[in-house]
Amino acid sequence: MQEEKCIHSWKMVNIAYGFVITEKCYQTGKVATYFTFEHKPPLEEYREGDHFWNVMESAQSFRFDLKCTKCGLITTFNELMGLMMCTGCDKTCELDIIREKLASDRTWVYVAFGFLPINERKQLTQEKISILENYFNQRRKSSKSRIKIVSHEMVKNFATCYAEVIKDIDMLCLTAPEGE
């Protein structure tokens, strides 16, 4: 007998806070990112084979899994470095074409991106991206809007992309109170 397929209802579980570290080797120009649970991000330069890694940036972030509240299935998202909202900076970018197409239905496009270097790290599968998209859409009970999450492969050029990355970094509060 064929098992009945669960229509999953996702909940965020196994949340753990840490930092996403971006480092660069000034010998080779290679940029890499990784997640650490250390309370204070490391700052020291270190050598790894031919590379001399230096910290460029650290952003507070978190890791999580999604668990189906009906069948208990857990999907891990260790490959996910972050999410960013497309703001339509390049009309020739495939991402912007999708954004513009979906905007009239109030469907907002986000990119799920993994760790660097992209070709050396395991990236999110399309199945996991769909699960993540489902999670955010299932929660939008009263809203008229939807979320579309796509792969980083849609971005034409990360270096010139102005998408809004959701991260705790830099001076997030840029202004003083009025009159001061």
């Binding site: 909202m85 929660r139 009970k141 009263s142 809004e164 705790d168 840029l174 109170p177």
Partner: protein, 111 residues
């Protein structure tokens, strides 16, 4: 309680276009990581953060609105992004604590 009712009762300043909707609860934090893991759709988010990437978090979580407290000036590019993505941004001279107290006073609770 409807968003417009809260705005009227607490005299919140409207910085973007507004769409009235039900406010389910209140969430207070100044960390986006916190918002992403703990805020709920329909929440009213109280924060001092004014960066443009707050808009992407509010939009993704589908919060009812964000209220920038303590009279912080919200940059024009954050307001423009809010308008583009139908994210309601409000502000108030009250501190986060004062506003939270007033929200409890009119019957809102944390979800």
């Amino acid at each position: 309680m409807k968003l417009q009712e809260i705005i009227d009762k607490l005299d919140l300043k409207i910085l973007t276009n507004i769409e009235d909707r039900e406010v389910e609860g209140v969430f207070i934090s100044d960390m986006l990581s916190d918002v992403m893991t703990s805020a709920k759709p329909g929440d009213l988010w109280l924060t001092v953060q004014t960066h443009t990437n707050t808009v992407s978090a509010v939009n993704l979580i589908d919060m009812a609105a964000m209220v920038v407290t303590q009279g912080k000036v919200v940059p024009q590019n954050t307001i423009e992004l809010g308008n583009r993505y139908h994210v309601v941004i409000l502000s108030t001279p009250y501190t986060t604590f004062e506003l939270a107290t007033k929200l409890v006073g009119i019957g809102l609770k944390a979800t």
